[in-house]
Amino acid sequence: MSRKTEGIIIILVVLFIAPVIQMVLMSFKQPLDLFSTFLFFKPTGANYVDLFSRLNLTYFFKNSIIIASGTAVLSVILGAVAAYSFARYNFPMRKFLLFMVLFSRMLPPVAGVVPLFLVMRRLGFTDTYGGIILLYTAFQTPFVIWMMRGFFLSIPRELEEAAVIDGCSRLTAFLRITLPLSRPGLAATSIFAFTLSWNEFLFALIFTGTNTKTIPVAVPELIGEMGIFWGQICAAGTLAVLPIFIFSFLAQKQLISGLTFGAVKG
């Protein structure tokens, strides 16, 4: 590949990502500079300070962290256990159940808002951490099952069988051999589940309230009657994107594979 093509790629990537760069730049601008300058301005941290002192975004970040981590932990535990069963055991309903799990995840969430509204209300789940975490877990677990099944399948079954022959129980064989080997898979899957819950908007809009409101719902609300706090919005947006940005560097291949149910290796 020629130098020229490499140059074209760099220019295209920079243009492509310009809106995000713009957001980060604006998050450091004073109100006066917001729309008058592009690259050259005196940076300020005032927008970030504002977020936490005046606009109380600490609270929403806390909610987002609790809900996204809760979902990641719960869905990875439930999903990995189920995935192990799908990967290692052969039982009559295996294929049908696996298919159902996958199929359920293709359903459009928006088609569930009316029945879920009633179900969540009846269960007393609305505006509670537990409720929204359980709801997200239901939606992420199929992804986790599919990703972890792939990871378990890639670990040779013979390793476990050898351990069983040497006198280990099946459980010990799993805990001593398969579990440590699947650690990278568990990490990638957790990142994946965390990202999806961190970004989720529709259910957060409906089922979180004053007690549990997350960042994706709280930040657009900064567009209020008092005018639009673009500087603060950009600062909040930058902070909201930052952890996901780091994750994408850590687990880019697994993200692609997970998003396509492993149909594409990434």
Partner: protein, 291 residues
């Protein structure tokens, strides 16, 4: 004997906790929703009457519904079409890249893995008729830009462009993964035979990528059909209903007008659309699962 029976149930016991959470919150609501669509059901004032297929007749006689279907199909068709053509071109370009490969891909992925609600806010600013950078750039060239998201004539265009940008990383990276996995032999043979690069692209690369192209098109269609976040934060379905896709209409019917029956009916329709499309994909996937 008892222990053998226990051993046989182990695989089911391992799946049970996952199913216990997936079933009530993911599968049951689908059926419950179909049931609800046969009722005239309002939250304010409370009412719940069995009306058979009346909701469906009402919806099919509603011009707002048909307009919404038109917007949804237009939006989905254009978004997926352009994403595919551009995405394939860009994947092709990135395929030969050697310098900073992983970094480029991670950067390209950012719009896709960032919260759509946040992404929409950036674009809401970009599309702003007065303050927005898009009109600022046009002004620099002496062009007076339109109102974009604030004008019914251009709002759907703006939303479409935003969604193309947001979703294209997925298309690029999936197609790129496909390109990287292609064998070398057919290319070597074609070069020996003196095929042009255009011929190579359409006669070798595209046919070899067929499966992956299918996957990408189906996924993007399903995901774009249900798009909500981007449109809701950018325009809320407006101005004047000009960007009201089915998803937006479902949400507004329920949470603005509190008309549960109509909203469930619309949900059943979007569900059927999705199922028809995913059926094709799952038939393929089901076959793959044999292995």
């Amino acid at each position: 004997m008892a222990s053998r029976k226990f051993n046989k149930s182990i695989p089911y016991l391992l799946i049970l906790p996952a199913l216990a959470i997936i079933f009530p919150l993911l599968i049951y609501p689908v059926f419950y929703n179909v049931y609800l669509s046969f009722f005239s059901w309002k939250v304010l004032p409370p009412a719940f009457n069995f009306v058979k297929l009346q909701n469906y007749f009402d919806v099919f006689n509603n011009p707002v519904f048909w307009n919404s279907v038109k917007i949804t199909l237009q939006f989905t068709g254009i978004v997926v079409g352009i994403q595919f053509v551009l995405g394939l071109g860009l994947a092709y370009l990135l395929n030969g890249q050697k310098f900073a490969k992983q970094t480029t891909r991670s950067i390209v992925l950012i719009p896709y893995i960032s919260a759509p609600a946040i992404i929409s806010l950036i674009w809401r600013l970009l599309w702003d008729p007065d303050l927005g950078q898009i009109n600022q750039i046009l002004r620099f060239f002496g062009i007076r830009g339109p109102g974009w998201i604030a004008d019914p004539a251009t709002s759907l265009f703006s939303v479409t462009v935003t969604e193309i940008w947001r979703g294209i990383p997925f298309v690029i990276l999936v197609l790129l993964a496909g390109l990287q996995a292609l064998p070398d032999e057919p290319y070597d043979a074609a070069k020996v035979d003196g095929a042009s690069s255009v011929q190579i692209f359409f006669l070798i690369t595209v046919p070899l990528l067929k499966t992956i192209i299918w996957i990408v098109l189906l996924f993007q269609t399903i995901f774009t059909l249900r798009a909500f976040d981007i449109i809701w934060v950018l325009t809320g379905g407006g101005p004047g209903g000009s960007t009201q896709t089915l998803s937006i209409m479902i949400y507004r019917t329920m949470f603005r007008f509190w008309d549960g029956g109509t909203s469930s009916t619309l949900s059943v329709i979007i569900l059927i659309l999705t199922l028809l499309i995913s059926f094709v994909f799952f038939r393929y996937l089901y076959k793959e699962m044999e292995v």
